[in-house]
Symmetry: C2
Amino acid sequence: MKGDVEDAYRLLHPRPVVLICAGEKPNVMACSWITPVCDEPFMLAVAIWKENYTYDIIEKTNEFTVNVPPPELVNSVWIAGTKSGRELDKISVCKLKVSRAKKVKTYVLDDCLANMECIVEKKVEAGDHVVYISKVLESYADSTAFSKVWKKDILLHLGGRDFVVFGKKIQPTIEK
Amino acid sequence: MKGDVEDAYRLLHPRPVVLICAGEKPNVMACSWITPVCDEPFMLAVAIWKENYTYDIIEKTNEFTVNVPPPELVNSVWIAGTKSGRELDKISVCKLKVSRAKKVKTYVLDDCLANMECIVEKKVEAGDHVVYISKVLESYADSTAFSKVWKKDILLHLGGRDFVVFGKKIQPTIEK
């Protein structure tokens, strides 16, 4: 029997949680409202709440990086997702190591399994969020963790304090 | 050691795979390039390749439904993702049961765990894809499967023929 749902957006979870890094003095936020939107060239869309400090930064710089944390970084993800960079230097509190990005003027997180350097191409308002349609200029990953698909666990956000890794593999039993 | 990656968009997988249903004579396609973009009101963004038949339909109707399949529908998902509705009545081939949607002029899939009825508010081109920023007018779910978060397995797409369900739960060990 189907009924109305609370927190309906979570019907589209669990989904990879990433750390978005932006700014010359880098700030980090957690986000899972992100999706590829094109493969050639690789482009992604990410939705950022307009109250977020990261929104202020991206509005100025038009650049950011997307960093995929391993499960061990769950506490950093939690801090990055619940505290504001206006009040706290989250990178310092979380003891995250950063390196300069290659193509954009901000940083990537060394402890993450993969990093994507992005430049905003278009932006669209959606309620109190803004969707940045962005081109990925550069992407690199830990080759023991990712080779065409993820070989190691990444963190997926289910809702609230609940994160999951991925489980049993399933394949269709029919040919293409 | 980090290096360049093939199929870089899969860095943002695994992610829920959904069945998009559109049209008066309903057609279904599989898609995982979808994300919530706002919670109040619930809005989502979905990227559709311009070669897809579903693109032609949504361009005309501006409406579609998003349906979340259980793992048992993996073969239907595979057909919906690899065949075109221009050549095949996929709903009939997959023996999917449909009902009229309540708020939009197309159908929802009865065998799916949740259904969302959507109307396009804005569209943005991204390479050879179009991103539809859409308002969810109505959403409902199997209450034994979803209650604020998913309680039962849903299908996540890892890449190619590989799907996964979700596994072990992880929580941060710090307070908010």
